[in-house]
Symmetry: C2
Subunit: 171 residues, 2 copies
């Protein structure tokens, strides 16, 4: 099934900057059958009870909402600061040059919630780790990371050491 899904992922050269090959999942979203197949395959990686699915802005919202739907879990959007209207926790993280930050509503996760964190791509892992810290600050337990694509050569998995990291497609 993975080789079918891979056919709908497009390599875009030099995005967002020269030398980077970007994995574009939008062709996959255009095909309802492939979208459902991908959702089912992501779901097959989940072997624990999940109360909340966290989706990372913005491409993590696509399969994040679908996973929440299939798992009968709540959905929590994690966004850039200033985008969420209510009170938030914020986490700053390092980039190659400078820093960036993520925010989550303070009432999104309850003490003891079992949380799955989803994003389309695991790259260096900085964003994913920041999302985990937000969940933990709110008292939640990160039960699993669930990615559609893992760029193994960027070693994001090492940054997420100690967590259960699952990914459907590895490059």
């Amino acid at each position: 099934m993975k080789d079918i899904i891979e056919q709908y992922i497009r390599d875009v050269m030099d995005f967002p900057k020269p030398g980077v090959v970007f994995k574009d999942i939008t062709p996959l979203l255009l095909e309802p059958k492939i979208m459902k197949l991908t959702t089912a395959e992501l779901l097959a990686l989940v072997d624990k009870e999940i109360d909340k699915v966290v989706g990372i802005e913005a491409r993590g919202f696509f399969f994040g909402t679908l996973l929440a739907d299939r798992l009968d879990a709540g959905f929590v959007p994690v966004r850039k600061p200033g985008k969420l209207p209510y009170k938030t926790y914020e986490e700053t993280y390092e980039l190659e040059y400078g820093t960036d930050a993520l925010a989550m509503h303070v009432d999104a996760i309850q003490e003891g919630d079992r949380v799955l964190i989803h994003d389309d791509v695991l790259a260096t892992g900085g964003t994913a780790l920041a999302a985990a810290k937000l969940v933990e600050r709110a008292g939640g337990k990160v039960v699993m990371f669930n990615f559609l694509i893992e760029l193994t050569y960027l070693k994001g998995r090492e940054k997420l050491k100690g967590y259960d990291v699952r990914s459907l497609l590895k490059y």
Copy 2:
């Protein structure tokens, strides 16, 4: 059912700027039953064949993906310029002060596609109209606008005259 859904929409004062009351749908996303109920109610507004669901960045991605799933339609994200990796069409539109723009991949919509455009909130209608122009530029037909919330006092519906505009909750 609408009164149940309304209980999960939070008014946030002075966001994104003083004097504005923001309709925050994130409490609704936290409750799987209410998320499914809302999806079903949005779906009940649809009485035509749909090939593609367009979701407007970023809150339009939540129920946009779920609607595409239920309708067995493709999903097309419409985003701010610079966010989509492949070749795009762009549409500029007027704001109260200045302009803004939206982009869509050139291969997202095929000639003759019947398109539903979804966003969480219909406000002044500027963004929604720009999304419609993108769809039409690609040869698609905007069969319906489908909003979770309509802020009727902002008269967005007038800007979308000639289109079939459906909304679940009116304020």
